[in-house]
Each structure stands twice: as C-alpha cells, then as structure tokens.
Amino acid sequence: MHEFSLARNLLEIIREELARGGYTRLYRARVCYGPLSQVAPSALRLAFDSLAEENGLAGAVLELAEDPLVLVCSFCRAEFTPPEQSLFAICPGCGQEFLHQVKSGRELYLDRLEAE
C-alpha cells in the first residue's frame, strides 16, 4: 500500500543522482530490501514503472534484490540467518525461538544505477 510513496522517493533520488553525474538515460536501477522491510516487490515495481514513464525514464528496469535477514540471539548472542526469514526463528546456537534482535533485514535502499 505504501509502495507508491516509496516509488516516488526512489524517483526523486534517481533524478538527483542522474543530474549530479550529468546522465540522461537510465537503463537499470537496483533496489535492495530486507525481508522485514514490509515492501511488496510487485507493487513497488508497478508504481516504479508508471512513475518512470512520467519522469521521462520509460524503459528503465527496476531490479529488486532481497538481502538476507540477520538476527542476533538475545540469550547466546549468536548471529544467524534463519531459513524462514522470520523474526520467530530458532537460534542455531542455543535453540531459543524468541526475543531475537534484528541486525539487518529492515533496510530498503537504492543500491546502484546503470545510466548514460
């Protein structure tokens, strides 16, 4: 639902970056997101495509890449990436299922651009 505002922010950042480097053509934008970022990739893509066209960047490809979730166990401090990509995951160090901290997995950022 909030993907439209995210896509608007994304386009704003892209335009800034293109202007700064004096580029006029965008081929590809790579966005990375964590499993806990609550972003729906298909909705973000849809919003991006329509906004890219409005901004004279039609045809640019949005590449979406999921980063791994990294949790830290509150009991044994083990760092791990659970296969189920969920906050409720069993710690491989001590077997604890609950109370993990999120080290990374909430992020959502424009990683790189391919432009000319």
């Binding site: 505002s5 970022s37 609550q38 906050l87 409720f88 950022y109 651009l113």
Partner: protein
C-alpha cells in the same frame, strides 16, 4: 556507467522526522504515535484518556484519516486541541504532514501530543513521525495471531494495549498467545489489557504508563 548509490528510500522522511524529534525535545512534548488496524479503538482510547487526564495533563491530538473528520470531532468534544490530516488514499501519516500542522499547536503549552495514525498495521510502521514511542493497539476481536503475522509493529512499539477485553467472553482470543508472540518480537514491550467501555478496565495502568513516559522524557 555503473553508479554506486546506497541511499535509503525513506531518507527524506527520516530527515524530517529527526527535525520533529528536535522540535518535540525543545518544547518538552511527549509525542506518541498510535498504530492499529481500523477500528481497534484508537479514537475511543483518546476520548477516554483526554477526559480522564484533563485535570492533570495538557494534551493535544493529530488525527490521521483517509477521509472525514469524524474522529477529530469526537476527540474535540473533550476540549483538547485537535488537528485533522486527511490522507485521501494514503495509508499512513508521514513526517512532512506532521510538520505542516505543527504550527497550529501551542507546543510549549502541551505535555502530550497524540498522533492517531491511519488504521493500518503495516504501512505506518515504516514512517517515523518524530514520536518518542509507538503505541500499538490490538483489539481482542481481531484474533490473537496478529503479533505473529505482523511482528514489526510489535517489535518497534514501546507499549501494546490489548483493547476491548470486555468482549473476551464472546470471542476466541487467547491473550496469553497474543502476548507471547508480541513479547517474542520485543523483549521490552509492556502489554496492558484495557477496555474503553464501561468502567474502563485497565486504563489506570495506561495512565500510569503515560505519566512515567512523560517523566522520563523531561528528566
């Protein structure tokens, strides 16, 4: 050409939210962001709180709604200062919208600013509005699996109000299960069962939480 960027899609909101944090700190205002599904009882909670604490605290409200000013009018009946933000389809409030209405408040003459977000368990969580705490509400009519399904809100909230406990006899809701998952997502989470109906069961604990949060803020 490959261009390395590394900029968050939320950076604009984060920047504006950080400004709000500074404004609230300067004015000594405790800002609370109320987040829940539609109908969990945010406005009802505010109506009770504004009425019951009016003698001791100066409170103001920002009402976020898709449309209508129904909630703002309900809350204004208590005499509190209230400003409406209509998002017209927007599923959350953001820091820029808060900035826009803030000049209409007397922040120096305010102890607590409540921000009632748009009813939604997902989107408002991503947009910091400068608040000191997120306050999560979950009503017992929604099912006890919500913390398990939507862990991020519970992970980030400081307090969870389990509302409508007067309905517990009529619904299939296990408060312990809801609390177990909510606390699994967040060790420091306070869970307060309340009802905004009748006697207002449990509300005294919520009021104590507010007083303590205000004290901490001004320490």
């Amino acid at each position: 050409m490959e261009i390395e960027v590394g900029r968050s899609l939320l950076e604009g909101n984060e920047r504006r939210a950080a400004e709000l944090v500074g404004i609230f700190r300067e004015a000594g205002v405790l800002a609370l962001n109320l987040i829940s599904s539609p109908g969990a009882g945010k406005t009802s909670l505010l109506e009770r709180t504004l009425k019951d604490l009016a003698p001791e605290l100066r409170m103001a409200v920002i009402e976020g709604d898709l449309q209508t000013d129904n909630d703002a009018r309900r809350v204004a009946a208590s005499g509190a200062r209230v400003e409406q933000i209509n998002t017209y389809g927007g599923c959350h409030l953001d820091a820029a919208q808060i900035h826009e209405v803030l000049p209409r408040f007397d922040l120096r003459g305010t102890d607590i600013l409540f921000i009632e977000n748009v009813g939604n368990l997902v989107c408002p969580v991503e947009f910091h509005c400068g608040e000191d705490h997120k306050v999560a509400l979950l009503s017992v009519a929604e099912g006890d699996d919500k913390p398990e399904k939507y862990p991020l809100l519970f992970h980030l909230a400081s307090v969870l109000l389990l509302n409508k406990i007067d309905l517990l006899p009529y619904v299939d809701f296990d408060p312990l299960r809801a609390e177990r998952f909510a606390k699994a997502a967040n060790q420091g989470l306070r869970v307060l069962p309340v009802s905004c109906r009748g006697e207002g069961q449990g509300l005294a604990a919520w009021y104590d939480w507010l007083r303590e949060a205000l004290r901490d803020k001004r320490r």
